[in-house]
Symmetry: C2
Subunit: 221 residues, 2 copies
DNA sequence: AAACATTTGTCCGTATGTATA
DNA sequence: ATATACATACGGACAAATGTT
C-alpha cells in the first residue's frame, strides 16, 4: 500500500484542525450526544486549548451540519433524525453513480486490482458479521472510485455525506446487507468493460437497494 | 413576490456573517482577484472590524472553495480555472436532476404558477440580452424546484455549486443560451403531468446541453 | 547563517445580549 | 418586571512560524 503523499496540505497539525477532528469524532461516535449543549470554555479545557480554535472548529462543524449555532444564544450538537437517511441517501446515490460514470475511463489496472482486493476484504467482514469494519471497507471501496473520478466538488460533497452516514451507523440507523458484495463485483465488471453507463446504473442500484432495505427496517420499528 | 420567511435563522446579522457575505461577493464579482493575497489585518481595517470575524469568514470561504489557506504562510483567493466548469456542471446536473425528480410530487399549484411566471421573465431577459439578469432569474427558477424538493443536503450542495457558477459567469466563462427557456417549459410540463422520471431527464438534458455549449465555446478560444 | 520583518495562530479580557430566578 | 448569572461575539495583544535580507 503506497503511503498517501501528503505533499499538498498537512504540514503541521494546527490546533483548530486537531480540535475539529476530535470534536467531529466525538459527535459521530456519540461521545457528544445529539442536542448536547457545547460550551466553548468547557471544550477548551477538555482539549487543553484556548477558546479560539474551539470556536473555529465549531463553525466548520456547523457548515458540515453536525453543530447548530444560535448566535448569542447557544451552540448544540444537531439532532440525529433517523429518517434523515431518506434525505441523505438519494444525493449520495446520485453522486456515487456520477462518480462511477466519470471514473470508468480513468481507471488503471492497479485501481481495478485494488477494487477487487478491497471487495474481498468487504466479503470477509460481512461473513464475520463485523459491521463496523464492513462499513469502513465499503467506504474504502467507494473512495477508490471517487478518487479516480478526480473531481474536487464531488469529492468534498461525498466526504460530507459519508460522515453523516457514519454518524447514523453509530446511532444504529444503518446496517449493510450481504447483497452489496455481489453488486460491487458487477460494478467492477462494468469498469473493466469500460461501460460508464452500466457502471453508473449498477452504482445507483447498489444505493437504491440500500435505501429500500433501510425503509423496510424502519417499517418494522 | 412573497417575502422570504426568515423565521428560522437570521435574528441579527453578526459581524462574521456580514464579513462573509461581503468577501464572498467581492471574490465572485472579481473585486478580489484570483490568487490575490488576503491579509486579515487589511481586510479588518477595510470593513471596520477586528481580525476575528474576518478570520472566521475566511475559514468558511475556504470550505466553500473560494479561498485557500496555507497555515502559517498565507491565505489567497483561489484561482479561476475556466475549465473548472467541466468539474462543476456534472454534479450540478446530477443534483438538479435529482431535485426535479424529488420535487415533482410535492409541487403546489402556486409553485407551478411561480415557475411559469419566472420562466416568462427569463425569456424576456434573454430577449433583451441581459445576461446578468438571465442568470439571476435562471437561478430563481431552479431555486423554486430545489426548495420544493425539500432536502437540506441537496439544498446546501447546490447553493455552493451555484456560487461557483456565478463566479465563473463574472469571469466571462459562462453564458446562457436561448434554448434554456424552451427546456424550462418542458420541465414544467413534466411537473404538471406528475412524471418525476421525465422531469429528471429533462433537467439533465437542460444542463448537459449547457455543458456541450460551453465546450464548444471553449474550443473556439 | 542569523537576525529582521511580516503575518499568521493562539490566548484571554470585555461587553453585549440572552436566559433564569 | 428587575435583577442576576452566564455564554457568546468581538477586540486587541502576544507568540510562533515563515520568508527575506
Amino acid at each position: 500500500m503506497p503511503i498517501p503523499t501528503n505533499h499538498a496540505k498537512p504540514v503541521r497539525l494546527t490546533a483548530k484542525e486537531s480540535a475539529f477532528q476530535q470534536l467531529q469524532q466525538w459527535i459521530i461516535d456519540g461521545t457528544l450526544q445529539p442536542e448536547e449543549k457545547l460550551v466553548d470554555t468547557d471544550l477548551a479545557q477538555a482539549l487543553n486549548l484556548s477558546r479560539t480554535p474551539i470556536r473555529e472548529a465549531l463553525q466548520l462543524l456547523e457548515v458540515q451540519g453536525f453543530v447548530e449555532m444560535f448566535p448569542g444564544k447557544a451552540t448544540r450538537v444537531t439532532k440525529v433524525v433517523k429518517d434523515d437517511v431518506e434525505n441523505l441517501l438519494p444525493p449520495l446515490a446520485a453522486l456515487q453513480s456520477l462518480a462511477a460514470q466519470l471514473a470508468t475511463p480513468k481507471f488503471t489496472a492497479e485501481d481495478l486490482a485494488s477494487l477487487s482486493e478491497t471487495n474481498g476484504r468487504f466479503i470477509q467482514a460481512i461473513e464475520e458479521k463485523d459491521d463496523f469494519n464492513a462499513l469502513k471497507i465499503d467506504e474504502e471501496f467507494h473512495q477508490i472510485i471517487v478518487d479516480a473520478a478526480d473531481n474536487p466538488y464531488i469529492h468534498t460533497m461525498l466526504d460530507r455525506l459519508q460522515a453523516h452516514v457514519r454518524r447514523l451507523f453509530f446511532h444504529n440507523a444503518i446496517i449493510l446487507g450481504e447483497r452489496s458484495s455481489e453488486e460491487h463485483e458487477e460494478i467492477i465488471k462494468a469498469f473493466k468493460q469500460k461501460n460508464p453507463e452500466r457502471a453508473a446504473e449498477m452504482m445507483r442500484t447498489n444505493w437504491v437497494r440500500t435505501i429500500d432495505d433501510l425503509t423496510l427496517i424502519g417499517q418494522n420499528n
